[in-house]
């Protein structure tokens, strides 16, 4: 009950914050621009003489890169939307108020995580609506579309959980955002050097977000990718719960 109550309070707070609306507005404007660029490139790449389709389809050429761009954007948005979650509340004694109301560390963390995740998933749904409106005209591979969307949703959940964990460990929201941004970028770029040189990522590649997003963007939903994102979420939330739970001992 308390986790739901915490989530409702935070969603209400997000809904009336100009910061959240500004962030959503900027993100959607950037994604709309990306989408138009993608569609324009796709139209220009179409063969002028009719014949059997052989090149990449609408999902390969437009939707997958477009959703990957949203993930790139979330590397910045997720830290910004989560930085206040626990760090800001701690400074303003609101975390103590939640604890005094009987909410456990886990309930507080789950509530805060759920509220931010709903916000970022709503953004993802709006983002996904743009390519969907052309669905009737382009005959997309719906299976591939669905896999890409699920992987994006899981990746957003992982980035949100990382942001919540960083917010749990400090009283300075800016510090929390910076830490979450660095971790997110680190996971995004960890195998970049190996990839650029054309090699296999190896064990380093397993930690990279890219490794677990790419198969889904091609329509392949692997259980190991789902497990990877769930592990990141579980690990980050467990750390946050541990830190918030220790607040009573630490003072």
């Amino acid at each position: 009950m308390s986790a739901l109550a915490v989530a409702r309070i935070d969603l209400k707070r997000l809904a009336v914050r100009p910061f959240a609306w500004t962030l959503a507005g900027i993100a959607l404007a950037m994604m709309a621009w990306q989408f138009l660029l993608g569609v324009s490139a796709f139209i220009h790449a179409q063969p002028t003489v009719p014949g059997p389709a052989s090149g990449p389809g609408y999902v390969d050429a437009v939707v997958a890169p477009y959703l990957l761009n949203y993930i790139q954007l979330c590397l910045v948005i997720a830290p910004l939307i989560t930085m206040q979650a626990l760090a800001g509340d701690r400074g303003a004694q609101r975390l103590a108020l939640l604890a005094a109301s009987g909410a456990s560390g886990a309930q507080i963390v789950f509530g805060k995580f759920a509220a931010r995740l709903v916000f970022l998933w709503l953004l993802l749904i709006i983002v996904a609506t743009m390519p969907l409106v052309l669905g009737g005209a382009t005959h997309p591979d719906w299976g591939q579309f669905g896999a890409a969307l699920i992987a994006s949703a899981l990746c957003v959940a992982a980035l949100t959980a990382i942001g919540i964990a960083c917010s749990a460990f400090t009283s300075e929201p800016a510090l929390a955002a910076t830490a979450a941004l660095l971790i997110g970028e680190g996971l995004s770029l960890i195998d970049a050097g190996v990839r650029i040189s054309g090699g296999e990522g190896g064990w380093l590649g397993y930690f990279a977000l890219h490794t677990h997003l790419e198969p889904a963007m091609r329509g392949l939903m692997r259980s190991e990718d789902i497990v990877y994102f769930l592990i990141v979420v579980a690990l980050a939330l467990a750390l946050a719960i541990r830190r918030v739970g220790a607040e009573r001992e630490r003072g």
């Binding site: 309070i9 209400k12 003072g251």
Partner: protein
């Protein structure tokens, strides 16, 4: 015949913060219909004591009991019997006063109808109806304190814990607050910390003076306000001016 346990009992409570002992072997009790003033200089351990009572901090040693039951044995139930207002009132600046009260009721697990009734009761009791639709972030300090008090009273707690309730208020607001706290006294125990000796003399039935994390004085105040006047000031000055080793 067994005697009725006190509403609140602190039994040899100790607490260190950042390796420094903040509270050492603190014991006192509070009964129903009693207002207890916790006095002490800055850093004496008043806020830490109140945070431990509110369940926000865990004592390193000792126990806190409500009606004889250790708060750690049934934390959720016993915490529902406590209302806490810290020194800087925690409010959600983006929510209106009415929304804030509803949110607190939700956190306490009150059903919708009970939340509505409780919010209306507290808005009326603390004269907040005029500002019910104002954002908490736009309130004055006095109004914030009243909202904080309303949040703490929403679930009708038996024990009210107020940390420096009069801090930063002008004399008129402080007098109004004293009057409100006086009206809250029947059927519940109130413990408040303060720097203001006159405020404590006017509001409290008993006073505990903390110094260097230890209880140095625990006594009832004289029944008449005239008889109290000046005595507490002399006692307080004598205790806090003594070196810790002598006071111990």
């Amino acid at each position: 015949m067994a005697s009725t346990p006190a509403l609140l009992e602190l039994d040899h409570v100790s607490r260190r913060l950042s390796g420094h002992p903040v509270l050492q072997d603190v014991s006192f009790s509070l009964s129903r219909d009693e207002v207890l003033g916790l006095l002490g200089v800055n850093g004496a351990g008043k806020s830490t004591t109140l945070a431990i009572i509110a369940g926000v901090l865990q004592p390193d040693a000792g126990s806190v009991r409500i009606d004889g039951k250790d708060v750690n044995d049934d934390a959720r139930t016993l915490r529902d019997r406590i209302g806490w207002v810290p020194e800087s009132v925690p409010l959600w600046p983006e929510l209106t006063v009415a929304e804030s009260l509803d949110a607190c009721g939700r956190l306490r697990g009150l059903p919708k109808s009970a939340r509505k009734t409780a919010s209306e009761r507290e808005l009326g009791r603390l004269e907040l109806n005029d500002i019910a639709q104002r954002l908490c972030g736009q309130l004055s300090l006095g109004q914030k304190r009243r909202v904080g008090l309303a949040q703490a009273l929403l679930h009708e707690p038996d024990l009210l814990v107020l940390d420096e309730p009069g801090n930063g208020l002008d004399p008129v607001q402080a007098a109004q607050l004293r009057e409100r706290i006086g009206k809250l006294k029947p059927k519940r125990g109130i413990i408040l910390s303060s720097h203001d000796l006159a405020e404590v003399e006017a509001m409290c039935d008993r006073v505990v003076i903390l110094h260097d994390g230890r209880v140095r004085h625990d006594a009832k105040l004289d029944a008449s306000l005239d008889a109290r006047r000046g005595k507490l000031d002399a006692q307080f000055r004598a205790i806090v001016s003594r070196p810790a080793s002598v006071a111990a």
